[in-house]
């Protein structure tokens, strides 16, 4: 399995691909794009990409994503200047330095989202 930071990269891409897939299956969105002239014929290819990304993510992290993303939209969010971009709350300074980014999964203490540090 790749290092955790690479798994988080794959997880972020997976989350964006899932949004793209939901758009493709949404008749209103699909119609809007088709009317503008954008092709959308290869949904199967997108599903294959999704599977490839899933294989790059450790099973427990993947299970957490698939379970929690049903309840929390935008489950994986970037951190900008110690602020969770999901709930916009500042992350407590007490947590800073406790873990090295990219070595453990970090969750926002306020909203529970998975934090992605760039």
């Amino acid at each position: 399995m790749p290092p955790l930071n690479e798994q988080l990269d794959a997880l972020v891409t997976l989350q964006d691909i899932d949004l793209m897939l939901r758009d493709s299956r949404d008749p209103e969105m699909a119609t809007h794009e088709t009317r503008l002239g954008f092709a959308r014929e290869n949904v199967k290819g997108l599903e294959q990409t999704r599977e490839r990304l899933r294989r790059q993510i450790d099973e427990p992290l993947l299970r957490t994503y698939e379970r929690m993303s049903q309840k929390i939209p935008r489950l994986v969010v970037p951190v900008e200047g110690r602020v969770c971009q999901g709930c916009k709350m500042s992350l407590p300074t007490s947590g800073v330095g406790r873990t090295t980014p990219g070595t453990t999964i970090e969750n926002c203490e306020n909203c529970g989202r998975i934090l992605y540090r760039i």
Binding site: V12, H32, E41
Partner: protein, 165 residues
């Protein structure tokens, strides 16, 4: 009754607010789609829209694999919503030589409008911006003026007026 000028102003507003000099590439170096997407994502990073251009470029390639956003007549409108995009943005880029973009008409692409947004589930403004861009470049004289424009300010003026027509 709504006056024509008010309607025009409303039509242009979404696109107008996103057209910025920092979001303009006068001449792309790349001639191939994949490299052009890398170049566009790098330009987004330079403009401060993302800090992860490689991942954004990968997402744009995945969107292109779903189906080309080269809509023909020399125009491409690659687009995506991503976790790693900080704000809605439109990046305008030109290519005199043309890019092989797998466009629907098979022709080279000379004008690229990259539209990105954060991953809101439903984002009517994002959809409107996409529609504004496509509408703005529907006339061949507009496309020619955009290709010939000497600077970003001229490009911006042309697009605002064309989107409002």
């Amino acid at each position: 009754m709504t006056s024509p000028s008010l309607t025009a102003s409303k039509n242009a507003s979404s696109l107008e607010s996103l057209l910025r000099p920092t979001h303009f590439v006068s001449e792309l170096r790349s001639r191939k789609k994949a490299q052009a997407l890398d170049e566009l994502a790098a330009a987004l990073a330079t403009a401060g829209v993302t800090r992860s251009p490689e991942i954004v470029a990968e997402l744009l390639r995945e969107r292109e694999a779903l189906g080309s956003t080269g809509v023909g007549k020399g125009i491409a409108v690659p687009h995506a919503r991503s976790t790693l995009i900080a704000e809605r943005a439109v990046l305008v880029a030109r290519s005199q030589k043309g890019i092989d973009f797998d466009a629907t008409d098979g022709g080279p692409v000379h004008l690229v409008f990259l539209v990105v947004a954060p991953p809101m589930e439903r984002d009517p403004i994002y959809l409107k911006v996409l529609a504004d861009v496509v509408r703005a470049v529907r006339l061949s004289r507009t496309r020619q003026r955009l290709a010939d424009a000497p600077d970003f300010d001229t490009v911006r003026e042309i697009l605002i007026h064309a989107a409002a027509e």
